[in-house]
């Protein structure tokens, strides 16, 4: 018996390694995004996220304290302090006093400014700058240091996206708006598609095969084609832009796949059960509600997950059918795009918003994922 089933293949290690490698490859971008969401815009611009967890050597441009803090000591005007201010922890190796020579002096040595003033910088950033003449200007002179800085992470991005008073209201509203869009836009197509799929799978009527073929054909029609005609139709019949319009649009765009998926699953259900029910005098509606629906639950759940994720992540359909010029009906995706600013490029906000917005889909996914695999195989295995 041991030799027949359930034995471990001698190549199982290869399978494990390739699975692990695949998982890593899939996770790689997400991990990068996750790490980036805890970094500032300047950090993202200067070094890769994979360097974020390690101390790094950086060339920094720092300033001494402003001349207003100078004191007179033995005929010299002296400014004292620490270049890093409150954010200590970095170790300076070399420094310079001009942007053209940033590594002239070792930490601990005394360097010279162009105007003849001197400065001594210690490895921990403490400095003493002294001059024969009074320091002038509103800001201290620049000191260019090469320092090993400890890794630094910040929660500021999340604070900005979730709790910043300027965004909070809009974000909360967008969250509820998105739910208002996604829940009906998931439920309606499933309801319609379940009836249609049953009819196409188990009810005999002329033209059934043609209808199935038409549904399959609709799968390949890009929804972008329908945007403007559909919106003018909505305007003509008085729906305009709004929730009803976006529900209808999502329903329409989601139905072909829903019907196709559910029909293929229902076709695979045992014929005997249905015929027994018919013999026992069950109506089609009873068969549908009492037998087919409970048995199709995995397929329904998996399509629900798909449709939910699509509508949750959707920006295009919402922009066209929902968001009118009053801006009251914004959704999460739109809100995130707005956070990016007119010319975009705020990577830290983008990364953070991505994680904020996937929170709900993740919950839905983990709550229903045990149905997903079964549903995915719907109709493919008998």
């Amino acid at each position: 018996m041991e030799n027949i089933a359930g034995t471990k293949s001698s190549l199982s290690w290869a399978v494990h390694i390739s699975v692990a490698a695949l998982v890593l490859i899939w996770l790689f971008p997400t991990v990068g995004l996750f790490v980036s969401s805890f970094r500032t815009a300047d950090q993202i611009a200067t070094s890769g996220w994979w360097k974020a967890a390690f101390p790094s050597e950086q060339n920094l441009t720092l300033r001494t304290d402003p001349p207003s803090t100078q004191v007179q000591k033995g005929g010299q005007w002296v400014i004292e302090g620490n270049l890093f201010g409150d954010k200590r922890g970095a170790t300076i190796s070399v420094y310079g006093t001009s942007s053209r020579e940033i590594s002239t002096y070792k930490a601990g040595e005394t360097g010279k400014f162009r105007n003849g003033a001197t400065i001594t910088v210690q490895p921990n950033g403490d400095y003493v700058a002294s001059s024969d003449t009074k320091w002038k200007g509103g800001r201290g002179p620049r000191v260019f240091v090469t320092a090993v800085t400890p890794p630094e992470f910040t929660l500021r991005n999340y604070q900005m996206v979730l709790f910043d008073p300027a965004n909070r209201e809009g974000m909360a509203r967008a969250f509820f708006n998105t739910l208002t869009v996604t829940i009906p836009a998931t439920v309606i197509p499933i309801l319609v598609a379940a009836f249609a799929a049953y009819a196409l799978a188990w009810m005999d009527f002329p033209g059934r095969a043609l209808l199935v073929a038409a549904v399959v054909g609709l799968l390949v029609v890009p929804l972008q084609l329908a945007l403007i005609p559909l919106l003018s139709l909505h305007n003509d019949i008085g729906i305009g832009k709004g929730y009803l319009g976006v529900w209808l649009a999502h329903t329409g765009f989601g139905l072909p796949l829903a019907i196709y998926l559910l029909r293929n699953y229902m076709v695979g259900l045992p014929r005997d059960i249905i015929e027994n029910a018919r013999v026992d005098g069950a109506t089609e509606f009873q068969i549908f509600t009492k037998i087919i629906l409970p048995l199709s639950f995995p397929a329904l759940a998996s399509f629900a997950i798909f449709q939910f994720l699509w509508t949750w992540n959707d920006l295009l359909v919402a922009l066209v059918f929902l968001i009118d010029s009053t801006g009251e009906t914004t959704v999460m995706t739109k809100q995130i795009v707005e956070l990016l600013g007119t010319r975009g490029g705020n990577w830290e906000i983008l990364a953070t918003s991505a994680f904020v917005s996937i929170a709900v889909p993740l919950m839905v996914f983990f709550a229903m994922q045990k149905y997903l695999v079964r549903g995915l195989l719907a109709g493919s295995v008998k």
């Binding site: 053209r100 940033i102 209201e169 707005e338």
Partner: protein
């Protein structure tokens, strides 16, 4: 569950509208050197409760700014003004107009699209009074009227676009302290700028940061370079002919202007990262090289909006400053200025939309934004001492003192060229393709849409 949701949505929506109704004005009426008389005059127009929807390209901080300006209109007239922004404004306004759900007022980032919309009959003319007003009150008024006037479906030309908020493009940004460290002077002529470029290389530095990357719009910063060079090597009339394709792209004068840009961008020693990095560097990251240690570059040519992309904590005026991208001393073409701007147009006519355009003619609309940030205006009737800082005032002076003002040519060309083949052509050019070949390709794409 659903009822609860609706209740939640309703509550959120209610609280949101309550907040916006409270309407906080950034500057209290009556205080400061603002033209409050023009604000009081607005109160004569009472359109209480009428909704005016405005749709534009501004998002994030810019959205807050435009809302702060519109708040004065709302407060004075009682109108209910709603602004929404979109990063895909160009596409969405077309969809909305086609389907008949256009906002009252749309803010176009460039005239090309507005001209297109006017031709298809989606815009309402602003009338002769507004045209006269712009001609009389804007510096170089006639050129602003021309830029805002388009043909309607019947071919009749009218003023459709009202320019509000202008960007100056002919600027070079630099770090004054880095210039001081190296002992460089601000160049006054193009000859000086070129010798400074060579000087920096001789001193072992890299003079320029140039980045053309911009996602789907990659290449546009280079079109600005070429337009600036065109204005500095040829009279403005030639520029106008080029923009309307009366002289083709393959004209030697245009090819020369492209090669003038190449003088800066196609020399590995002149550009941070080498000329190969020009096309791949994002324009938003490019200026950061001015502030690194040691500096990756000393100069960056970009429009007046670019300080938004300087590293956090950079103080414009101290850490960074600008000078006018100079003209050739020996060509005698004056001081041409290249600029761009946004224009307001009525996409869904209503008394409220008309009132909003009237509001834009009052000094207060300009002054409120000027006194905050990122706003320049050619309106001569504003108090320029209200500019939030000297940098903005300096930019405003460049605008008011321009001997020649020309609008960003790529914005005036047909979309397929100005927002298509010109961009991609410049990326090819930066990658090493000869100027003649690039020009021929762009001209071919222009011929194709004639």
């Amino acid at each position: 569950m659903k009822n609860m949701l609706y209740a939640g949505v309703a509550a959120v929506a209610l609280s949101a509208s309550a907040a916006s109704a409270a309407g906080h004005l950034v500057f209290t009426p009556g205080e400061g050197d603002f033209n409050w008389a023009s604000y009081e005059a607005l109160k004569k127009t009472q359109i209480k409760g009428e909704q005016v929807t405005v749709f534009g390209p501004w998002l994030g901080p810019d959205q807050k700014l435009v809302e702060s300006v519109l708040a004065y209109f709302a407060e004075a007239t009682g109108a209910d003004v709603k602004y929404t922004g979109s990063d895909s404004f160009e596409q969405q306004i077309v969809i909305d107009a086609e389907a008949g759900s256009a906002p009252n007022v749309a803010v176009f980032p460039q005239p090309g699209l507005a001209a297109d919309m006017a031709k298809r009959g989606f815009l309402s003319p602003l009338g002769q009074d507004t045209a006269n007003w712009v001609r009389d009150n804007y510096a170089a008024g006639q050129s602003w009227v021309d830029l805002g006037s388009y043909a309607n479906p019947q071919g009749k030309k009218d003023l459709y676009g009202f320019f509000f908020k202008v960007d100056v493009k002919s600027l070079v940004w630099y770090s004054p302290e880095n210039f001081a460290d190296a002992g460089y002077e601000i160049p006054k002529t193009m000859e000086d700028l070129k010798s400074l470029t060579e000087q920096i290389v001789a001193d072992g530095g890299t003079p320029w940061c140039i980045g053309l990357g911009s996602g789907g719009a990659t290449g546009w910063p280079a079109t600005d370079w070429v337009e600036d060079m065109m204005l500095r090597t040829q009279p403005p009339e030639v520029y106008d002919q080029w923009v309307t394709n009366e002289i083709p792209f393959t004209d030697p004068r245009v090819v020369d202007a492209i090669d003038e840009f190449g003088w800066f961008a196609r020399n590995d020693k002149y550009v941070a990262g080498g000329s190969a990095a020009v096309a791949s560097t994002d324009f938003r990251d490019s200026p950061k090289g001015l502030f690194t240690s040691p500096p990756q570059c000393y100069m960056h040519r970009q429009a007046s909006f670019i300080p938004a992309f300087f590293p956090e904590g950079t103080v414009v005026g101290q850490d960074a400053d600008f000078f006018y991208f100079p003209s050739y001393a020996d060509k005698n073409l004056g001081n041409p200025v290249l600029g761009a701007g946004t224009l307001f147009a009525i996409t869904n006519d209503s008394p409220g939309a008309r009132a909003l355009i009237e509001f834009l003619k009052s000094p207060i609309a300009h002054e409120v934004w000027m006194a905050q940030q990122g706003f320049l205006t050619p309106f001569k009737g504003v108090n320029t001492s209200l500019y939030a800082n000297d940098t903005l005032r300096g930019l405003g002076d460049i605008l008011l003192g321009a001997t020649t003002f020309r609008f960003d040519g790529s914005d005036l060309m047909p979309g397929a060229v100005g927002a298509g083949s010109f961009w991609t052509g410049m990326v090819d050019y930066a990658g090493g393709k000869p100027a003649e070949a690039v020009a021929a390709e762009i001209q071919a794409s222009w011929d194709a849409i004639k």
